[in-house]
């Protein structure tokens, strides 16, 4: 009966593999890092867009309100789509927007801001992309919602839409 037993084990094992592979087909094989874990904002020093001086992160996030960190660039097409929504958010008193100008040319970035408006209370320059990495970003646009205790509570990969804006508005009330 040893044969029957090993046959049974093999059948169970094969069925298990079949189910796993079948389910695996439907999973995407591209990877997006998890967006739901609460993390403290990184400490860093960055160059200010307007004054050209270096500022510490604790000076940037000095008030006890909500912050949004938005990674953008003049060469990034979806950034233009989300820009009006950022302008909308900037009118809200309980939140301040910090822009991270990612791997961009200064003049092009200035043109972008002049043309489409400036929703940011401050813009930081991230010429080599390393500041974005400190936030766990890997592309552009990406947006982070930071609460009063300096925790990153939400992360949005890709351009934000009206639904996301509504979500944010309800959180920051």
């Amino acid at each position: 009966m040893k044969n029957k037993f090993s046959l049974f084990i093999i059948v169970i094992f094969l069925s298990f593999c079949f189910v796993v592979f079948y389910k695996g087909l439907n999973n995407s094989n591209t990877y997006t890092p998890k967006v739901d874990e609460k993390k403290k904002i990184p400490t860093f020093k960055a160059k200010d867009f307007d004054s050209d001086n270096y500022i510490n992160s604790d000076k940037i996030f000095d008030e006890k309100i909500f912050y949004i960190v938005n990674i953008w660039a003049s060469w990034c097409v979806p950034c233009r789509a989300e820009h009006p929504l950022l302008m909308q958010l900037s009118n809200n008193q309980s939140i301040k927007l910090i822009g991270l100008n990612y791997r961009d040319n200064f003049n092009n970035a200035k043109k972008f801001i002049n043309e489409f408006g400036n929703p940011y209370s401050r813009i930081l320059i991230d010429k080599d992309g390393t500041l974005g990495i400190e936030f766990g970003a890997y592309g552009v646009p990406e947006t982070f919602l930071i609460d009063k205790n300096k925790n990153i509570i939400k992360k949005f990969v890709g351009p934000i839409n009206q639904k996301i804006v509504n979500d944010i508005k309800s959180i920051i009330k």
Binding site: L7, F18, F21, G24, L25, N29, Y31
Partner: protein
């Protein structure tokens, strides 16, 4: 246009022939004649002809840049050189499946011709099992991956082929690899047939060994070609990345090597019958499983074909049908060998072959688990992890030490019961290996103990096999050459990885860069136009500490369809070392980023794999004498 029609209908006819062949051969099973009905052979040949015609039609469509054919449109371009238009035929999913069918039908026909002295029922059953596989692939092609789909209106230009794939090594890599990889199908079919006939015996072992050897040789060389391509084309001097697609070609190779060794035991002692059957089934199953993993989009890799879950489901079901069929036949028909010859004396050649299989199965499990575990984890717990080179190296490299030692001692043992002869010379060889290894490693400032042991083991195999070659023990030259080739492979890989050095820097035209062993001088650049790309060719003069200079000319190519930028390394190869220089643009800059590598013994890696296959080739032809 016409080629499209011919190609498509040839496939349909091929499928119909499969059904006809099954019918005719089943009828022939019941006939009492000793030889197969000539019709069966003719039909099998006809099937091969139809598949060949279909394949040639696709090639013709590629040559003519017939963009009414969807596959040609997706994968070719009018400005592609002729050689790459032709090789583009099998460089895509649909065309490569035609290559699968070609090898499947070719091998069964050759099998029928070359097995006339074999029992008739066994031959017919082999044909039938192979037809199951062939029908499956015909259906797969016709239902999900038709190479002859029409496009209307007819585009004037194609989407081109990735320029990285336009390389001679990569052009011949699929056909050679498939002859090995798909060739394992015949071993699968014939072992299933032999099981039903209770024919797993010495005679069967002798007969099937040629097929195992042929598959094994092609698979070895096919894998080597893939590595050579990666080394020359992918630009960073690596030749094996433990990428899923590479692993998938390696797994059948591991089982096939184990099978090759077991067949030797089967021939001599008529034992290990169950294990031989299991290995035969497993090898082709791994090939099919690999096809599934690569073509379904379930894995993330540089090499995977386009993602298409519908295809994935078909292959998955097909794969499991084959597994259920083979497992079923094994359990129903296989009769255990009751003789006492099933027990081996601990010091014998049979045992050393068992030990070889033990290690091979371990290596297989490492590669298999490493490749598929992320899929299982993702499905079960939605956690995503990556399994890369560090995993494989940590689990495989330490086990190479005992493996190499067993490889040195095993072949010296006699069958059934043995003593170790010439103990003294063995001990002396061992001591010399250790001393040599120690002396070398000490001068290289690396992880002393581990590498010394590993290199000693490799040297031990190296010297023992070298000695056998010189003492003219010609009764087993082919095996000695292969084992010697393997020791050379391990030594080349080890010393290459320990001794390689690299410099990465940004440099401008006219600049000189000084490093610890010399200087690099960026002389200038020259621009050139070819039929489907523009290139920037740089001139570098590199002077080493001894004042010797070499000139290297890496290239950056800008292809026009699709728009891609590639870096072509310039590599100067000598027996001693490869000097490797590759260049990249730095965005918005007059600087170029260069990587200069000195890689000792690189060419010996390829030479040793050729030696490995040479041993197999010699064994194949030895039978004919």
């Amino acid at each position: 246009m016409l080629a499209n029609q011919i190609g498509y209908y040839s496939l349909i006819l091929g499928l119909l022939l499969s059904v006809l062949l099954c019918g005719v051969s089943i009828k022939d099973l019941t006939r009492s004649s000793k030889q197969i009905n000539q019709n069966v052979l003719s039909l099998s040949f006809l099937q091969l002809v139809f598949v060949t015609v279909s394949f040639l039609s696709l090639i013709l469509s590629f040559i003519n840049s017939d963009f009414s054919n969807e596959t040609v449109f997706n994968n070719s371009h009018t400005t592609k050189p002729l050689f790459y238009k032709i090789s583009g035929t099998w460089g895509n999913h649909e065309g490569s499946l035609l290559l699968w069918l070609l090898v499947l039908t070719l091998f069964i026909f050759l099998f029928l011709i070359k097995s006339r002295e074999q029992p008739k029922k066994y031959r017919i059953l082999t044909l039938l099992f192979q037809q199951v596989i062939i029908i499956g692939f015909f259906l797969f092609v016709l239902m999900t991956s038709n190479p002859f789909n029409y496009l209307f209106p007819i585009p004037t230009e194609g989407l081109g082929l990735n320029p990285i794939l336009q390389d001679p090594a990569l052009a011949i890599h699929p056909p050679i690899l498939y002859l090995g990889y798909v060739g394992t199908s015949i071993i699968f079919s014939s072992s299933l047939a032999a099981v039903t006939q209770n024919y797993i015996s010495k005679e069967w072992g002798q007969h099937i060994k040629k097929w195992v050897l042929v598959s094994w040789i092609f698979l070895t060389i096919g894998i080597m070609l893939g590595s050579i391509w990666a080394y020359y084309e992918l630009g960073w001097g690596g030749f094996w990345f433990w990428d899923p697609v590479e692993n998938i070609s390696l797994m059948p190779w591991l089982t096939l090597t184990a099978l090759l060794h077991c067949i030797v035991v089967l021939e001599r002692r008529a034992t290990l019958t169950s294990w031989v059957v299991i290995l035969s089934i497993t090898t082709f199953t791994l090939s099919m499983c690999g096809t599934f993993l690569v073509r379904s989009g379930i894995l993330n890799s540089v090499h995977t074909f386009a993602n298409d879950p519908a295809r994935g489901i078909f292959i998955l079901i097909f794969l499991f049908v084959l597994i259920v069929l083979s497992v079923g036949i094994f359990f129903i028909f296989h009769k255990e060998n009751n003789k006492n010859s099933n027990n081996f004396f601990w010091l014998s050649r049979e045992t050393s072959i068992l030990i070889n299989n033990w290690f091979m199965m371990y290596f297989l499990s490492v590669v298999l688990i490493g490749t598929v575990y992320p899929i299982f984890l993702d499905v079960i717990s939605s956690e995503k992890i990556s399994v890369g080179p560090p995993f494989y190296q940590k689990l495989i490299v330490p086990f190479l030490i005992p493996f190499l030692l067993f490889m040195s001692l095993g072949p010296r043992l006699k069958w059934i019961k043995s003593k170790i002869e010439n103990k003294n010379s063995l001990i002396i060889t061992f001591l010399i290996s250790v001393l040599l290894a120690f002396f070398i490693i000490k001068n290289l400032n690396t992880n002393l103990l581990f590498y010394t042991v590993l290199v000693s083991a490799a040297f031990f195999l190296f010297f023992t096999t070298l000695k056998e070659l010189f003492i003219k023990k010609f009764n087993n030259v082919s095996q000695t050459i292969s084992h010697f080739g393997f020791s050379l492979l391990i030594l080349s890989i080890l010393f290459n990885s320990i001794l390689s050095s690299e410099i990465i820097t940004n440099i401008k035209v006219g600049e000189k860069y000084n490093y610890s062993n010399g200087e690099i001088f960026f002389k200038g650049i020259e621009e050139r136009k070819e039929s489907n790309f523009n290139s920037i060719i740089a001139s570098f003069k590199i002077k080493d500490k001894n004042g010797k200079t070499i000139k290297l000319k890496p290239e950056i190519r800008i292809y026009n369809q699709p728009v891609t930028i590639t870096s072509e390394a310039d590599i100067k190869t000598t027996l001693l070392e490869d000097k490797f220089l590759v260049m990249n643009l730095v965005k918005g800059n007059e600087y170029f980023n260069i990587r200069y590598q000195v890689k000792p013994f690189m060419v010996w890696i390829w030479i040793s794999v050729l030696l490995l296959s040479l041993g197999g080739l010699m064994s194949l032809f030895k039978r004919k004498i």
